[in-house]
């Protein structure tokens, strides 16, 4: 996984609540047994007036020139709810997004994001509103700078940076680009010992063959 240390880029504002993973990447856009080939289908139902013909909907934020090259997404609450499809994260990243700011995230989406190096930052509604307003004044010029080492978002250089919180282990995983399976493999002895204890307590759990 590619480490995430800091990022500065154009932010796209999509101020909707409950943006579900079917909207982020519809099932019909997941055409291959792989993690790639998904960027084109990102937000297909909203991005295109006709998704089959890929006819762009000029009203949608990602089709507006001032937001071109967006790599930070700003949304409302419960972002990524619905289906557990990790394709939602892969599609966002393949399109170029590195950070999502929202007032809350669905748990599975957030876990998936973390395991792929997509930084999710939960902020208070008034913080989201302030950052969104600043971005909208001139999206190409007003690019937020997200620093994971400092846990802060720099917007207007004249203003103070917005601090954010993230669990220390999640932060370390992102900063170092750690592979979680590799981390857990260091606990294989503990897992084997657990099984010995657990088998005595719950022998019915362990199937054979």
């Amino acid at each position: 996984m590619k480490p995430f240390i800091r990022h500065e880029g154009v932010a796209a504002v999509l101020p909707r609540d409950n943006i579900d993973t079917d909207a982020i990447i519809p099932s019909r856009e997941m055409r291959t047994v792989s993690r790639s080939g998904l960027a084109d289908g990102l937000f297909a139902p909203w991005r295109y007036t006709d998704p089959d013909a890929r006819a762009a909907d000029s009203d949608f934020v990602l089709n507006q020139a001032e937001f071109s090259g967006a790599s930070v997404l700003i949304a409302g609450h419960n972002f990524g709810c619905g289906s557990s499809r990790e394709h939602a994260v892969w599609a966002l990243m393949e399109y170029g997004f590195r950070v999502v700011l929202a007032t809350s995230f669905a748990t599975i989406f957030r876990n998936n994001a973390l395991r792929n190096g997509l930084l999710t930052i939960q902020l208070a509604p008034d913080q989201i509103d302030r950052i969104s307003a600043w971005v909208r004044r001139d999206p190409q010029a007003n690019q937020p700078r997200i620093d994971l080492e400092a846990c802060s978002i720099q917007t207007d250089p004249a203003a103070e940076a917005v601090p954010f919180q993230i669990e220390a282990n999640a932060r370390e995983m992102l900063l170092k680009g750690l592979d979680e399976i590799g981390l857990t493999e260091q606990s294989l002895d503990a897992i084997a010992a657990f099984e010995v204890r657990d088998r005595a307590l719950r022998p019915w759990v362990y199937l054979t063959g």
């Binding site: 599975i108 220390a168 399976i181 719950r202 019915w204």
Partner: protein, 473 residues
């Protein structure tokens, strides 16, 4: 201080505590399907990792496989065959048990896992599928994950999990005869909102829950994810134990006795506390139908679609406007004002034998047929459900009334590029998600119980089966 059911399940599965409330949890069962499981298996193969306990991993074909009679590896979804072939080949290479298309036990993952005794009370179970919380209805700690986490569980038999907060949703009163578990969960989502259980392990309790049969508890917990919850849970009781007894992968003999002794301890202690608690009265619960594009957009079947002017805030007003535009409904109208084009009975929410019996009983009792111009499908959740339904003659009742009778699978619960209803087609559906485009581009999904869907299919508009009140008397 006492422990909640969730606390007990967490404790039993904790291999080691990690920093910041995270734990390494032991995963007793892993279930995969061809949609997202194929990616996890392929990734494992690519990295030369193996499945740590292959006997605890299972796989089914449900999401992409067709449900038309005579189906095989070819699918209506253009590249569907690739998923099926890749899943089969990876499952073979990993030597994990696959319920393949022609297997008599094939079916929707969350229907077959309890049916086969793969999901049991007290087990931890994960699947790269958000509706894995269904199995909480048995008292299992079951939750949905992404493909990378599924890969982690396959490789290590564990997951690193942040401990969720706990919530209890306690139902007071008795469920009226016409209200089903589906109505109960839709009403709960309507009251708490689509983010109302965000990140929580929710225990459902109360007399209404105790009275629910096990299959209905699965329906209820199935939609915990629509509250954005980590999972839903119902404490196992004697009904649960009876349900599990004799199932194919359930323990036998001494192991069974040890299991049920453990299961009986899986109750929330009287002095345990939850981070959040809600009480909802169900005495006057009416059948629920969704009007919009989020599961929280539900109303009583005879209620009015909300007026945008009545929205509590600007964000809701904008969301309602989008939803009403998409659904082609107007604030102030009733759902029965709109002609229905299709009806779908199936999905991991409502495709079990009791669901099919409920719908078929309506058809038999009323002698009604599907209204002219309405396309109606019934898709049993598994091979076992299908055979049991056929043995009772339910298939003939459905067919006789104008329903298609399909092979088991997820079918048109979601649109993967194959079969769909069509743009602006209004569907009464027993599924769990009414998101924009979920059942196909422009499809207008109204989610409801099997009883409401069958009643609506016959009426030709959205309608609940409620007793006729004789006002003259």
């Amino acid at each position: 201080m006492g422990q909640t059911l969730f606390d007990k399940l967490w404790q039993v599965h904790e291999v080691e505590a990690l920093a910041e409330g995270q734990s390494l949890l032991y995963v007793d069962r892993i279930f995969l399907h061809e949609r997202t499981g194929s990616v996890a298996l392929n990734s494992l193969l690519d990295r030369n990792r193996s499945v740590r306990r292959r006997e605890h991993a299972f796989c089914t074909m449900d999401h992409i496989v067709d449900t038309l009679p005579g189906r095989g590896d070819e699918t209506l979804m253009p590249s569907g065959r690739d998923f099926i072939v890749a899943t089969r080949s990876a499952a073979q290479e990993m030597d994990i048990r696959l319920f393949d298309i022609q297997d008599p036990d094939q079916g929707i993952v969350h229907v077959i896992s309890p049916e086969l005794g793969i999901a049991l009370p007290g087990l931890s179970l994960i699947c790269p599928d958000s509706h894995t919380c269904t199995l909480g209805g048995l008292g299992a700690l079951a939750w949905g994950v992404g493909s990378t986490e599924a890969e982690h569980a396959l490789a290590t038999s564990t997951l690193r999990v942040a401990r969720p907060q706990t919530m209890r949703v306690h139902f007071t009163g008795t469920l009226p005869a016409q209200a089903t578990a589906k109505d109960l969960i839709l009403y709960t989502i309507r009251e708490l909102s689509a983010a109302g259980g965000a990140g929580c392990a929710i225990e459902f309790s109360g007399r209404a829950i105790e009275q629910l049969p096990v299959e209905s508890r699965l329906t209820l917990c199935n939609m915990s994810t629509e509250l954005s919850a980590f999972t839903g849970l119902i404490a196992p009781d004697e009904k649960t134990i009876e349900y599990c007894h004799g199932r194919r992968f359930a323990p036998e003999g001494d192991a069974w006795s040890q299991a049920i002794e453990h299961w009986r301890s899986l109750q929330t202690d009287p002095d345990a506390t939850f981070d959040f608690e809600h009480h909802l009265s169900v005495d006057n619960l009416k059948p629920q139908i969704s009007w919009g594009t989020s599961p929280q957009h539900c109303i009583d079947w005879d209620g009015s679609v909300p007026r945008i002017a009545d929205a509590p805030d600007d964000a809701s007003a904008a969301a309602w406007r989008r939803a009403q535009d998409y659904m082609g409904v107007t604030g102030g109208t009733r759902l029965s004002d709109y002609p229905l084009d299709a009806a779908f009975i199936g999905s991991c929410t409502n495709s079990r034998l009791s669901d099919l019996r409920l719908a078929a009983a309506f058809l038999k009792r009323t002698g009604q047929r599907v209204a002219k111009g309405v396309k109606a499908l019934c898709v049993p959740g598994s091979g076992q459900v299908k055979r049991a339904a056929e043995a009772e003659g339910l298939d003939e009742i459905f067919r006789g009334a104008g329903f298609e009778w399909r092979e088991p699978g997820c079918s048109m619960c979601f649109f993967a590029g194959g079969e769909s209803f069509g743009r602006e087609v209004r569907v009464a559906s027993t599924t769990n998600r009414n998101f924009e485009g979920r059942q196909g581009l422009g499809v207008r999904t109204h989610i409801a119980s099997p009883l409401t869907v069958v009643t609506s299919a016959c009426a030709g508009y959205l309608l609940a089966d409620t007793p006729v009140v004789d006002t003259a008397a």
